[in-house]
Amino acid sequence: MNPLFRLPRLSTRFIPVWQRNYLVWKKLAIPSILGNLADPMLYMLGLGYGLGSLLPDVGGMPYLTFLAAGTVAYSTMNAATFEVLYSSFSRMHVQRTWDAILNAPMTLDDVMLGELTWAASKSLLSGVAILAVIWGLGLYGNFWMTLWIIPVVALVGFCFGGMGLVMNAVSPSYDFFLYYFTLVITPMVLLCGVFFPVSQLPAAVQSVSAWLPLTHAIDLARPLVVGNIPDNIALHVIALLVYGSLGYIVALALTRRRLLK
């Protein structure tokens, strides 16, 4: 078999890579947190109160609650995507940090698992920050139920981190990432029920939406905010795991071709 497509060999050696990113992030934690969190929060509160006051209940709940639940998933997706696109690309292509690490007894499998787990960790923070706003404003149905949102957010970060690494592997420059945002991320935000229920879309579009990872993320997060047990938990969890893992495996093969030929 072509060695480029060998399955990943996972080990705990990814930890120093995760730790490297964490230590760098720690230096700039406050501007980074503000930059990552202020934006989704402003949208959520602005639209939630402004638009929400004009609307009746949406999806059986006040619009602010509806939007807050969508924003948890959306904000997590964005944070993970940005990290593996712009930040990982800087480390791989611009700073050549990956090359330096690969000269040590590390493999690309380790480096990319470190990047993926780091993106998931960082996006966890984004998701939990929105969750904190939900707690603060009392937008939830059952507090204990909302704690389940934390693992959901970690899973969503893993999913979009893995997918984004594929883009990182094939991108010639930063400009390329715009395609991913315009063609994948933004349509997903509009089709997956962040701002309005998927049921408002034409039936054909709804059936597309059902396949998209952000839909699965929101189908888990929104009931948990309101205090209900989500339907089809296994389906959603497996979908997110499959998207993330496939992304990681494909990205690894493509990056091997890019760096190790």
């Binding site: 060695p3 050696r13 120093p16 890579v17 730790q19 490297r20 230590l23 760098v24 230096k27 700073q95 050549r96 940090t97 090359d99 330096a100 690490i101 690969l102 000269n103 040590a104 007894p105 590390m106 493999t107 190790l260 030929k261």
Partner: protein, 301 residues
Amino acid sequence: MLKVRGLTKKYGDTEVVRGLDLTVRRGECFGLLGPNGAGKTTTLRLLLGLVEPDGGSIELAGIAVPQRAREARMKVGVVPQMDNLDPDFSVRENLLAYGRYFGMSKAAVTARVPELLDFAGLASKADAQIAQLSGGMKRRLTLARALVHDPDILFLDEPTTGLDPQARHLIWQGLRRLINAGKTIVLTTHFMDEAERLTDRLAILDHGRVVVEGAPRALIETHIEPAVVEVFGEGLTDWTSQHAADLCQRFETVGETLFCYTSTPDIVIDALKHAPALRYLHRPSNLEDVFLKLTGRDLRD
């Protein structure tokens, strides 16, 4: 320390490495020379197990590569061609982070940091950011970083390219200290004086093969006449056609200069006294002459 037999690597239809054999002994400083595209960097990447060879065998520090490349890399320090220090970390943090990639504990790396900074002459820069360092300091830090896990063997890919003479001499001093401390060194370089100064033995690569291998002095003695008279100036063409074949053991004209290789330079210089319009430079032959003789004068970019 390093044993390579019949190594081959193809990219598409191009054979970049074509049946390479190399042996580097413990404690030796070995040079890999060759024009651009000769396969030097690819060879280093193959030796580290970063690229899968198409054929041949590699044994690095007694460990088979690429099969057990990870173990082999534990024993190797690498100074890459392009600086890839971590710009988000200070000098000290760069060393600490790099040690972790070798599975070293924080205490173990911390204990080594002062010695490494001292070696690199960066003790006063421990907390400086990478962007504040000069090119020479960055190279020295990269060298110190390659030593963080106390490797037996060091790979250096053009360690002094782009440095000013002062910075080059500092790097050479550092490398000599490592050689004296018994480290094995494999270095690639474009600088013949660097190879002549540092290496015990060297191999000249061209088109993915070893063209010649040996100690620098021995190569000069066996492959080239002991002296060179470079002649240039008005009327060179006439002088060359009349005298060069008689006076020089071997000669070639490159652009506006005649290179006259000879073991009796005095005779050439005497003859040149009768041609006052011509100027000349008389020097002992060196490794560069060997290199150019064996790999030709064509540009390889």
